[in-house]
């Protein structure tokens, strides 16, 4: 590459954070620190039943005995867990009969994010459960969903209104002792989303949750639980942006999916949290545990587009427990500036004739480091299990890195595992060819990178695919030419 082009490429992903604004809300924040009393405070604030408090306390005890994991390829400054505040809630929590009652500040914030709820309610077929600082403030489309028998509400409401369903499934996929951050989440989670799709029901719309972190120096611990009964189907969208800030923010969410016999859950994420400034200062730490359990003939599909966060640690996984169950993972991860992304999936094949597909697209720019870390595990019981894995890395510039770390464990000789990997750069030739046809360098770059991600974008629901492409283009905009 010519020197000039390389400089331009390196500058490409350095665009400012478009959604870096902060909305002033009165916030009720607990003092920093984490003790058993903090756990009790959270449970009390939320008027939780005793069984949940006990569950939290067990998790807290487990967490205290666990060590923070130490990952290769990740450079993390120590996190002071006692400096974090574990509870924040908007003090003006309105009782909502209609969208008109939503705090105008919050409405305005959603408008900036391009989520005009009033229009969505009229025009789109998407129910939005908007979460500001861990507490749901508005939920739409409940009536339509209720007609179908689908429950879609905040986690707190679910604990209050459907305690048996929550108690039966909470922690059934991600046990409290699963890992350091899952244990922490289990002890202090503040709120999140709950979805229940009854037997044979096809959820009549895409379910969408927009997350937003809005309080300085407040860790956010979301808990999501989706249960799809036999022969049901649900598509769930999760997307988030966050305001610019100076201090690192820890985000340790847990998502559990249960797909019972012949059920299908499609979980799509577009993540655009604040990645920090040019030196990575102030970016969000995103340590997420996402896992699904697929029973007989069930299918769980994860699709994610990750462009934000200073550090991403995330391995949406599927336990293929039932025979003929299917697991899929489609991922685009962009790391620019000094972002670090360590992401991938785990496919654990238990049932016979189970199949899993993994398509991972990593894009590295600036000084970004992108690692694919994936585990494909075929247990002895997994007769005729199959896996296909494809990992492609795209490098923009010479100071970034791409790493592929596939783990494969096969205990059944009938299993088939395929792994393909490639690393490429955006070619000078591709840019020149596109520019000769009249495209600007910026447009050409966005087009080429979007083309690289096509297989993954094709898996996203239409409205999300458009948003993901826009996000990627915005992330790549910068000092071209």
């Amino acid at each position: 590459m010519s020197g000039m082009l390389r400089e331009e490429l390196e500058g490409l992903a350095e665009a400012g954070y478009e959604f870096g604004f902060s909305t002033e809300l009165d916030t009720d924040i607990a003092p920093p620190g984490l003790t058993e009393d903090t756990v009790r405070l959270i449970a009390a604030k939320k008027n939780e039943p005793d069984w949940l408090l006990e569950w939290r306390l067990a998790a807290f005890e487990a967490w205290q005995q666990m060590d923070e994991p130490d990952w290769a390829k990740l450079d993390i400054s120590p996190i002071d867990y006692q400096a974090i505040s574990y509870w924040a809630a908007p003090t003006k929590k309105p009782q909502l009969d209609s969208l008109d009652e939503v705090d105008p500040d919050i409405r305005d914030m959603f408008d900036k994010l391009g989520i005009p709820l009033h229009e969505q309610k009229m025009l789109s077929n998407v129910a939005v459960d908007a979460i500001v600082d861990s507490v749901s403030v508005t939920t739409t489309f409940k009536e339509t969903l209720a007609e179908a028998g689908v429950i879609f509400c905040s986690f707190s409401e679910a604990v209050r209104d459907y305690p048996d369903l929550v108690r039966e499934h909470l922690g059934s996929v991600v046990p409290v002792r699963d890992n350091f951050f899952a244990a922490l989440n289990s002890a202090v989670f503040s709120d999140g989303s709950f979805c229940y799709v009854p037997k044979g029901v096809r959820c009549p719309m895409e379910l969408s949750t927009y997350f937003r972190i809005n309080s300085e120096n407040t860790g956010q611990f979301e808990r999501t639980l989706i249960v799809a009964e036999d022969d049901s189907h649900v598509s769930y969208l999760e997307g988030c942006t966050a305001p610019q800030r100076d201090e690192n923010q820890l985000h340790a969410a847990v998502v559990e999916l249960v797909a019972k016999d012949r059920a299908e859950i499609k979980y799509s994420t577009v993540q655009n949290w604040y990645p920090g400034d040019e030196n990575g200062v102030g970016g969000i730490y995103n340590f997420v545990t996402k896992r699904g359990r697929a029973l007989e003939d069930a299918k769980i599909s994860w699709t994610q587009v990750e462009t934000g966060s200073a550090i991403t640690w995330k391995y949406p996984s599927v336990i293929l427990q039932g025979d003929r169950s299917v697991g899929e993972f489609y991922s685009v991860a962009l790391s620019s500036k000094v972002q670090q992304a360590d992401t991938g999936t785990k496919m654990v094949h238990i049932g016979s004739d189970t199949t899993s597909s993994i398509v991972s697209k990593g894009i590295s720019a600036g000084r970004g480091q992108n690692t694919y870390r994936g585990l494909v595990k075929m247990l002895r019981s997994a007769e005729n299990a199959r896996n296909y894995t494809q990992c492609d890395s795209l490098l923009l510039g010479s100071d970034c890195g791409a790493h592929t770390v596939p783990y494969i464990e096969v205990k059944n000789p009938t299993a088939q595992v395929e792994h393909e990997a490639s690393t490429s750069t955006v070619g000078e030739d591709q840019l020149y060819y596109s520019r000769q046809r009249g495209l600007s360098e910026e447009d050409a770059m966005a087009m080429i990178v979007n083309g690289f991600c096509r297989e993954v974008f094709n898996e996203l629901p239409m409205e999300f695919a458009v948003e993901a492409q826009r996000l990627l283009s915005v992330s790549l905009e910068g000092s071209v030419g």
């Binding site: 000039m4 596109s434 520019r435 000769q436 360098e441 087009m447």
Partner: protein, 256 residues
């Protein structure tokens, strides 16, 4: 329409073009022939604005100074380069690419963007010209195309872009007889009083299908001879040795 004056180009200190003078009038088709390494492709890329060359001299397209422009500005000014090795862009839909290109050029010229419906009509017409099946537009740009398909795609793009000046760099290389006929008839159909072409080729056989108004012989980065189409026939018979070409002495020019 195109005035090239004393055009010099070098790359990493190696002189490749040595004072090219060339004048192409509106509606004219000029052939540039020459042995391997004579600078034919460099000439094409210098016109299109590829980075990496040190260039002096002047190139004016309809009076505008091309050398001052970025590649995309040259495209908007009406320059089209048919690539010898068309580039693959995986995951980018051929139709999307072409419509984006056309609209980029239209925007740069202050024209309205073309609608998807209008574009489809234009594209269908162009596809008929190069005998392409409809699924052609749905595939990724040049990805997995055969050599012949890539060249036909170049002509398809030219038909859609409707350039003022088309430079075709060895469009005939690597084509079988049928593909050559399709490509040549496509080019022939796009000839017109408002469009000029520079056809760069190593062999005479393309010129059996496209009769040029003027033939130039390029050796060691300079035009050493110009004439009518009979000059190409002379080259066919005698090779480039009459023009000081050393390495290719005695080289037969017909066939592949």
């Amino acid at each position: 329409m195109l005035e090239v004056t004393n055009l010099n180009a070098s790359i990493d200190g190696n002189r490749i073009l040595n004072g090219i003078d060339l004048s192409v009038g509106s509606g004219e088709v000029h052939a540039v022939m020459g042995p391997n390494g004579s600078g034919k492709s460099t000439f094409a890329h210098v016109l299109a604005g590829r980075e990496g060359y040190e260039v002096t001299g002047s190139v004016a397209l309809d009076g505008a100074d091309l050398l001052e422009m970025e590649p995309e500005e040259r495209a908007a000014a009406g320059l089209f380069l048919g690539f010898q090795y068309p580039v693959e862009i995986p995951g980018v839909n051929n139709m999307y690419f072409l419509r984006t290109a056309l609209n980029s050029v239209r925007r740069a010229r202050g024209e309205d963007e073309i609608s998807a419906r209008e574009f489809l009509a234009v594209a269908r017409e162009a596809m008929a010209l190069v005998e392409m099946k409809p699924d052609f537009l749905e595939r990724s740009v040049n990805a997995g195309f055969s050599g012949g398909e890539k060249k036909r795609n170049e002509i398809l793009q030219m038909a859609v872009m409707q350039p003022r000046l088309a430079v075709l760099d060895e469009t005939d290389s690597g084509l079988d007889i049928d593909a050559l006929r399709v490509v040549a008839s496509g080019v022939e159909a796009l000839r017109g009083p408002d469009r000029s072409m520079i056809v760069i080729t190593h062999y005479q056989r393309l010129l059996e299908h496209i009769r040029p108004d003027v033939v130039h012989v390029l050796v060691d980065g300079r035009i050493v001879e110009s004439g009518d189409h009979t000059l190409a026939l002379h080259l066919e018979e005698h090779g480039y040795r009459d023009f000081g070409e050393q390495d290719g002495a005695g080289q037969r020019l017909s066939g592949v």
